[in-house]
Amino acid sequence: QTSEVVIGVIYPFSGGSAQQGVDAQKAYETALEVINKNADFDLPLAKGEGLPGLGGAKIRLVFADHQADPQKGRAEAERLITQEKVCAIIGTYQSAVAVTVSQICERYQVPFVSADNSSPSLHRRGLKYYFRAAPHDEMYSAAMFDFFDAMKKKGTKIETLSLFHEDTIFGTDSGNAQTKIAGERGYKIVTDIKYRANSPSLSAEVQQLKTANADVLMPSSYTTDGILLVKTMAELGYKPNAIVAQDAGFSEKALYDAVGDKLEGVISRGTFSLDLAQKRPMVGKINDMFKAKSGKDFNDLTSRQFMGLIILADAINRAKSTDGEKIRDALAATDIPGDQTIMPWKRVKFDEMGQNNDADPVLLQYVGGKFVTIFPPQAAIAEAIWPMK
């Protein structure tokens, strides 16, 4: 029997998005602690040490740096598989890197868990070894529009939208999904601004948003641009009616540290909420474990990363083997009820493309320095404040 199960973790550890990589590292280490040590949570593998299915074998993580480059991601995946003998890989933050990493995993028949990539195109490539437990951007966007529909029924005026998204895969995919659903449901997009990620200035962009002055501003931006966007809006005297953000930067502590005072009432989609701790105390406890390591609360990214590793480890445990194909089959057979996760999901069960369609997104509103869940109704603990402040 193996005494150790090795899993590869591929993230950007240097370059512009190193921060996400470093945070991810802490999230995975938290999951590792839950799995390898005895913990009293109602999570798969929390109780007892290691993987009982493999005779109590412990999991070891090997971290690799892809520097946001698909080629490097691929090389690292290959190295992890052939040299470090990992039995599965988890990653990658950037969707472009997920493309090449998942290809290599497919070729070596090693499962790839796409913990935090939200590009819808990823699971539609007919890969056998690709799995994503979290929602993708179309699901997220649909949730936003469900929310708008509900608000409209209550008499709120939501007709016009401004899209604001970066020119990367994430931004483009998100913008496309929003445009599509808006068209289907009869919302008018008055401005659709695609901007260059990490721009030195966003004043021209904000000027256009201000001129359009739509009912809702829908940004898809990472932390850096998010901070700049909010600051520039304040400087140019633009106070939108409502902001409904496609997560990313808008779930990062750094953004609220910087400009939180200007964001009272901002709404972000997400798939995690600390509110859940009220119903499910373990969420709070695990969050404390994470906070001890990183100094931050779980956010949308780190919670997905945590959960991704738990789900993967659970499958390895059930496969009772480190053989890629067996783990794959076990992953395909996964069925974890929602309350055995730290997420507000119905359950974890993958379709034939490796996508979990029961991962319900939530909408969170930033109120008084905290996020509260406002949608869907079954998860909500408060009513939405509309317009924001």
């Binding site: 993230y11 550890f13 240097s14 190193a18 990589g21 470093v22 590292q25 090997v62 971290f63 690799a64 740096d65 520097q67 946001a68 480059d69 698909p70 080629q71 490097k72 691929r74 090389a75 690292e76 290959e78 190295r79 052939t82 040299q83 472009a96 493309v99 090449t100 290809q103 070729r107 195109s121 490539r125 020119d167 990367t168 895969i169 931004g171 483009t172 995919d173 695609k194 260059r196």
Partner: protein
């Protein structure tokens, strides 16, 4: 006639053939795919840098925008393949020709510029190319192009199960770029380029048409780099603007030649042989810490090498004789 000279050139050719032979046998001993991957990248960057060296090293027109040609090679190949079913081999040639034409088209306005004005113009034009591809919906914009996997085939130049064909192609490209340089070095063009680099005014007075010389160098250089881009796209089976046209490629094409010895026959190969494994290994084995140590190590090495050997690593070989004689 000039026996010294003729023997030196023959010696270069023999050494190159020997190295190529040894390299060709490498896969017999190197089974580790990760190491194979490093070898392929090393050969590819050696070839790219050798091509860059033609324009920037020999002809003295420092370009930090060769990523444009690299990207054009990659995109031409993959757009032709995915949209029109044209085999990558033709796409590769087409990409090379298009890149060469673009290089010459840009030459008209650019070659009037000198020094930093030229360097910045090359950076800027590559950046424009990147932005245009990033926004060009038909070409996949930011989503890039995923090359459909149709199983191993030489016809489609696509291999999942083995890296060896890529290895041999990269080796071939490297040999080609080296040989073209070797051949041009002792030709009218080679002399013209070096003359243009050292003193364009004097060159002009000796019958060298400076503008045409630069154009020639740009075309050859861009053509070869575009072939490299096409190769990279096939090798990676996925391209997006950042990952084939980013500024880092322009730097990575120049860096081996500079570290090895700019404007020399062996500089790019030597530089790539040191630099690329160093890049890969520092990232792989110390990059996972998330603390930037790999950057510190990598950057320090670059600073030290370029300070210690400003004329490049080749100066270790060529100078040693002269020094021995006099000291």
């Amino acid at each position: 006639m000039d026996k010294n000279f003729a023997t030196r050139r023959r010696r270069d050719l023999i050494i190159a053939a020997g190295l190529a032979g040894i390299a060709a046998l490498a896969p017999l001993f190197v089974k580790d795919v990760y190491v194979q991957n490093i070898l392929i990248l090393t050969l590819m960057y050696a070839a790219l840098s050798q091509s860059w060296n033609i324009l920037s090293g020999y002809c003295g027109q420092i370009s930090l925008g060769h990523a444009l040609y690299f990207g054009i090679g990659a995109y031409t190949t993959e757009l032709l393949f995915t949209k029109f079913g044209v085999l990558p081999w033709f796409g590769m040639l087409g990409g090379g020709v298009i890149a060469a034409l673009i290089a010459m088209g840009l030459g008209y306005p650019f070659f009037r510029l000198r020094g930093h004005y030229f360097v910045i113009a090359t950076i800027v034009i590559a950046e424009i190319g990147l932005l245009l591809f990033q926004n060009w919906e038909w070409a996949g914009a930011a989503m890039g192009i995923t090359i459909p996997i149709r199983g191993d085939s030489w016809l489609k130049f696509q291999f999942l199960r083995t890296k060896l064909p890529y290895f041999y192609f990269a080796l071939g490209l490297c040999c080609l770029a080296w040989f073209v340089t070797w051949w041009l070095e002792d030709s009218k063009w080679g002399f013209w380029w070096r003359a243009v680099k050292d003193n364009p005014e004097a060159a002009e007075s000796l019958g060298v048409v400076v503008f045409n010389s630069k154009m020639g160098a740009a075309a050859v250089s861009a053509f070869l780099v575009a072939i490299g881009g096409a190769f990279y796209a096939q090798f990676l089976a996925y391209i997006d603007p950042e990952s084939v046209m980013g500024f880092q490629f322009s730097l990575l094409m120049a860096l081996p030649a500079v570290l090895g010895g700019i404007g020399t026959l062996w500089g790019p190969v030597l530089g790539a042989a040191i630099l690329i494994p160093m890049t890969e290994l520092t990232r792989s084995y110390i990059g996972g810490s998330g603390r930037g140590v790999d950057l510190i190590v990598y950057g320090t090495l670059i600073v030290l090498i370029s300070l210690a050997l400003p004329q490049g690593l080749v100066s270790l070989f060529s100078r040693s004789k002269a020094k021995g004689a006099t000291r």
